[in-house]
Every structure is written in structure tokens, then in C-alpha cells.
């Protein structure tokens, strides 16, 4: 029998995502991809996978997954509470996030609730054995492509695994939670900031904006003070001749409220875009929940590029800094080696 994770109970919106479907925007194909690229990269690194391996993006509440493989190593990354490993002959055992876990055939992984973020990620060592669509496993549900049958998971789905048993090695965990940064969301002005009045631009960077209930993989609609478009000149109003929409573009339709466009955004659009979220802060956007409040703060392109490079360097350091996770009740061998306690004698 081939190895699989069987969905016994689905979560609310679990989709397979990698780092996105790159190279097809010219054909109208959105990139999709993980809302929080940092968390997916960490989950993959914990499992020893390349960064662009597809993992399960979990929104709000995770699924129950039955192991139909000799063994499987999974990594959970993100603020998950009340995750459990069950059975078949053992009582339910609570498990932590931000680390790997080894499961055996017949055990059930019950992924808990995502708390304080809109997304968490599950990666499996070796990845899922599914055919990429246009070079990517990212699910784009609106067109029914990618991932598992182009949709969110449902009860009874069987996610095929590349490996039928987990690779040897210790379980790993993050040294410390990744720092996504706090404070205002950094944005770069443009491409159409000249379609807004100076008052409108000031409103945008001096006001609090609250995440509305209309927030999904396509984008986040914010509530707050309305942003005034220019009313004179040849660059005025909400409508432009449609042009390309980059990741994090902030379009402002006629009603004056900003919409930040994310992975499942359409590739071109006809509303003026006042600014674009710096790529360093896109993972933060991907974690926002309805009701949360942000401010937008402008930086230059050069600053945004540097912030992104610094974040990548911190991400690589976090990966280099993974710790061995002690199995519950087991011995932390690495710790013992480190402290020179291996033969029970301490040499001062």
C-alpha cells in the first residue's frame, strides 16, 4: 500500500501551498503560494525539505490526519494550540508547535486551533507525492488547480506521501519563535500614488486600519478613514487602465478603503494602487486576523530591499539555530554532550 495521510476530519480551510506558481502571470494565472512564506520555510527546514516543498496551510482550525505509512515525520509551525497525537493503543498526547514529531502507522495527528494568527503550516519530511500544475503545487481554488484536486481538503481525502517511512534523525525544534517584527507595516509608495491627493496620502499613513471580515487568500479589505483620490489633473480617481498587480499591492477603489492584495490576487486590475507592502512584511499580512489594527509606514525601495535581505539572513540563522527536541520522557543526548555529562562525570 502506498504511503498517505488520510483526512479523517478536515479543518476549516486547509490547502497545499508552496512558495507560489511563478512565471505564468502573463497568462492571467495568479501565483497563489503560502500566505506566510517564513513559517512554511521553517516547517520545511525542520523536516529537512527544500524551502519550496509544498506544505499544508492551515487556517483557523486544523484537520485530523491518520497515518497510513510505516512512519512519517511532520513539522508544525505557527501558533497552534491543543494539537494531539492519538492512538492506536496509547492515550492522546498533547504536542507542541514549532517542532517536528514522528508518527507511526495508525496514529492520528489532530492539529489544533490556530490562535493569534490566520495561518499555521504542516510540512512532512519528503513532501507530498502529487503532480505539480504549471510547475507548482500551490492550490488556487478559484480555478480548481494545484494542490490536492485544486481545492481545500475534505473528509476522506488521501494525501500521498513521497516517503513511506520517516528519514532517520532526531526531532528538531526552533531555537526561539521567529520575530516577524512589530510596529507599522512597511510600504513603498506607488505604482499610482500620484492618483491620490496629498490629503489622501497623509490619511493613508497617519490612520489606523482595521482588518475587516473580508480577508482571505486573495486579499484583505481594511476599514478606516477613507483615502481621497485626486480630483484634478489627468491622473485622478479610482480607475486606471488595467496594469499588473504585484504581491502586496494596495488598491483603493472609489469607496476610498484600502485592499491589500495577496497570493490569490488577480494578475491585472483597473483600480489605482496607492502603495505596495514591502516583501519583508508580507508574511505578517498573511497572519492578520479580522479585527486586528495596523498602520502603514512608507520606506524607499532600497530600504525595503535591505529589510527583506536582512529578514532572509535572520531566517537562515534561525534554521542554523534549530535545536534537538527531546522526546517526551527521553534523554536529550545533545544537551548531555554539550554539558559534558555523557559519562556522568563533570570535569571542572
Amino acid at each position: 500500500m502506498s504511503a498517505a495521510l488520510k483526512v479523517v476530519r478536515p479543518g476549516l480551510f486547509d490547502t497545499l501551498q508552496d512558495l507560489g506558481r511563478i512565471g505564468y502571470m502573463a497568462l492571467g494565472m495568479p501565483t497563489a503560494g503560502a500566505m506566510d512564506r517564513v513559517a512554511l520555510t521553517l516547517a520545511n527546514a525542520l523536516c529537512g525539505n527544500p524551502a519550496n516543498t509544498a506544505g499544508l496551510e492551515i487556517g483557523v482550525m486544523g484537520p485530523d490526519l491518520l497515518v497510513e505509512a510505516d512512519s512519517v515525520r511532520v513539522a508544525l509551525v505557527g501558533p497552534l494550540s491543543a494539537s494531539l497525537i492519538e492512538g492506536p493503543d496509547a492515550p492522546p498526547k498533547p504536542i507542541d508547535s514549532d517542532r517536528t514529531h514522528l508518527l507511526k502507522r495508525g496514529q492520528m495527528l489532530r492539529v489544533g486551533m490556530v490562535e493569534g494568527s490566520s495561518t499555521a503550516y504542516l510540512a512532512v519530511a519528503g513532501g507530498f507525492d502529487l503532480p505539480p500544475f504549471m510547475g507548482s503545487l500551490s492550490t488556487y481554488a478559484r480555478a480548481g488547480v494545484g494542490g490536492y484536486q485544486g481545492r481545500k481538503l475534505a473528509a476522506g481525502d488521501s494525501l500521498p506521501l513521497v516517503r513511506d517511512q520517516a528519514p532517520p534523525g532526531d526531532e528538531k525544534k526552533l531555537g526561539q519563535p521567529f520575530d516577524y517584527g512589530s510596529g507599522p507595516v512597511r510600504v513603498v509608495w506607488g505604482p499610482q500614488d500620484d492618483y491620490f491627493s496629498s490629503k489622501g496620502r497623509r490619511t493613508f499613513v497617519e490612520s489606523d486600519y482595521r482588518v475587516s471580515k473580508e480577508a482571505d487568500r486573495m486579499g484583505i479589505r481594511f476599514e478606516g478613514p477613507t483615502i481621497e483620490h485626486s480630483v484634478t489633473g489627468d491622473k485622478r480617481g479610482a480607475d486606471i487602465i488595467s496594469d499588473g498587480i504585484g504581491p502586496g499591492a494596495i488598491q483603493v477603489p472609489g469607496a476610498g478603503l484600502p485592499i491589500v492584495l495577496l497570493g490569490d490576487r488577480q494578475t491585472v486590475g483597473g483600480y489605482s494602487k496607492i502603495a505596495t507592502v514591502a516583501s519583508v512584511d508580507l508574511p505578517r499580512l498573511g497572519r492578520l486576523l479580522p479585527g486586528q489594527v495596523v498602520r502603514f509606514s512608507p520606506v524607499t525601495v532600497e530600504e525595503a530591499e535591505k529589510l527583506r535581505r536582512d529578514q532572509e539572513a535572520r531566517l537562515q540563522r534561525a534554521i542554523a539555530d534549530f535545536k534537538t527536541a527531546r522526546p517526551p520522557g527521553g534523554i536529550d543526548l545533545a544537551r548531555l554532550y554539550e554539558e559534558n555529562l555523557i559519562d556522568g562525570v563533570v570535569y571542572y
Binding site: 497568462l27 492571467g28 495568479p30 500544475f133 499588473g244 486590475g269
Partner: protein, 246 residues
């Protein structure tokens, strides 16, 4: 050529090269020429860090990886490409799209279009068939093409009441353009026919049939031919290559 080109920031992973602020074949031609020139340069190992380019009516969005390159490095490289002179009269694909105008179910707006443009239904069909179209941009949905070049006397604004449900493969017109719906979706254009082709078919190696820059004409088919081609497309047995001349 005297060119005013603007470079617009799209964050730290993209910028837009804007060739003008109106829709015209000349401006779109320059967009497509730069799209092709960048693709060519990237293929021969230049322009490291360019991830992809996204053409639209009058601008090309250049997406880049800030780990590999930067705006400060890339923008002069693109300026250089433009300064060297963009190719003109590029080879374009000639695509023929079979379209059935006969069935009222396929073409519910044909009569109204004829009335509003003061023509006979047959003349509307003839003018759509006579139009020499160019694919300007794909977007809104995967595979949805905005195809300009409609005969001037058929220009109409979009419907004031958009339809909630337009069937897949419907051929529609509005303003100076025609389009073909790749999925069942809402739509505000005037529905004048239907092609048996699927503009998006994920089973195909190239799931999206049309590409920006394609030259396109429609060919009239009757209901019998429509049904036959439909069956072939459905079965994945249709020979798409015969619709295309290089």
C-alpha cells in the same frame, strides 16, 4: 522613436515600465516588444534576478528577486534594452477561433447589439468575423483575454446590468474589444456567440490557449460543427495546433 517611459514602483519585488497613458496598438506593441526582449535576454543569461514579466495594455510589470538583484541595478539594464531599440514587427501567432453565432442560447445579446448599432444580425456577425483582433492582456481570471480590434461600428459600452452567470466559452463584445470566458463566471459584456474551445484546460500541457500578442480572427461554424468540436475538446482529442499559424 521619441519615447517617454515611466518606471513605477510596485514594492521591492516589482516595478512597472509604463509606455503611455492610453490604449493604442503602438503603445501595446512596445509593451509586448519589451516583454519579448526581457524574456530573450533572461534566456541568454542576462538580467539575473528577473522572475517574470506581466504585460498589460500600456505597461509591463517586471517582477524580480531582491535576493539576487535590486531595482537600482535592474532599472538601468531595462533602460539599456529600450535604448538599444525594441524589436518591431515581431512574429506573432495567427490564431483562428471557431465560433457558433446561431443558437439564441449561445448569443442572447446578438439581437440587441444589432438593434443598438442599427444593423442586421447577419451584419453584426459579419463585422465580428471581419475584425482583425490582437490579444492585449490576460487577466481577471486565468486565461481570460482582452482582445482588441473590434470593428468600430460595433462599439458599445458594457451592459448596465451585468449577468450573474455567463457560461464557459461564451464569446462577448464590449467597447473596442472581444473576449472569451474561460470559466462560467459573472460578466457584463454582450454575449454574441460561443466557441467549442476551452480557453483554460488544466489537462493540457499549455493550459492557457491564448497569449498576449496573438493575432486573432473568428471563423463561423454551425451548430453541428460546434457539437463535434465540443466532443473532441471534452475528450481531450482536439487538435489545437491546426488553429495556429506561426
Amino acid at each position: 522613436m521619441n519615447v517617454s517611459v515611466r518606471y513605477l514602483s510596485c514594492g521591492d519585488t516589482a516595478f512597472s515600465v509604463e509606455f503611455g497613458n492610453k490604449i493604442s496598438p503602438e503603445i501595446n506593441g512596445r509593451v509586448m516588444a519589451l516583454h519579448a526582449a526581457i524574456g530573450q535576454a533572461a534566456k541568454s543569461g542576462e538580467l539575473a534576478g528577473v522572475v517574470e514579466t506581466v504585460p498589460s495594455m500600456r505597461a509591463l510589470m517586471v517582477c524580480y528577486d531582491p535576493m539576487t538583484t535590486s531595482r537600482a541595478k535592474l532599472e538601468p539594464e531595462i533602460e539599456g534594452l529600450i535604448a538599444r531599440g525594441l524589436p518591431t514587427g515581431m512574429k506573432t501567432r495567427q490564431v483562428t477561433i471557431p465560433c457558433c453565432y446561431d443558437d439564441p442560447e449561445f448569443a442572447p445579446d446578438l439581437k440587441e447589439v444589432a438593434e443598438r448599432t442599427k444593423k442586421k444580425v447577419e451584419d453584426v456577425i459579419a463585422l465580428h468575423l471581419a475584425s482583425r483582433f490582437t490579444v492585449y492582456v490576460l487577466g481577471f481570471m486565468p486565461g481570460l483575454a482582452y482582445i482588441a480590434g473590434l470593428e468600430k461600428s460595433l462599439y458599445l459600452p458594457r451592459r448596465s446590468q451585468p449577468r450573474v452567470r455567463v457560461p464557459r466559452s461564451t464569446v462577448a463584445i464590449a467597447m473596442d474589444m472581444t473576449t472569451i470566458y474561460p470559466f462560467e463566471s459573472p460578466g457584463g459584456w454582450h454575449l454574441i456567440g460561443r466557441t467549442p474551445l476551452w480557453m483554460f484546460d488544466q489537462r493540457r500541457e499549455q493550459p492557457v490557449f491564448l497569449a498576449p500578442g496573438d493575432s486573432l480572427t473568428f471563423q463561423r461554424i454551425d451548430r453541428k460543427a460546434y457539437d463535434r468540436i465540443s466532443r473532441e475538446v471534452e475528450a481531450g482529442a482536439f487538435d489545437w495546433a491546426r488553429l495556429v499559424r506561426a
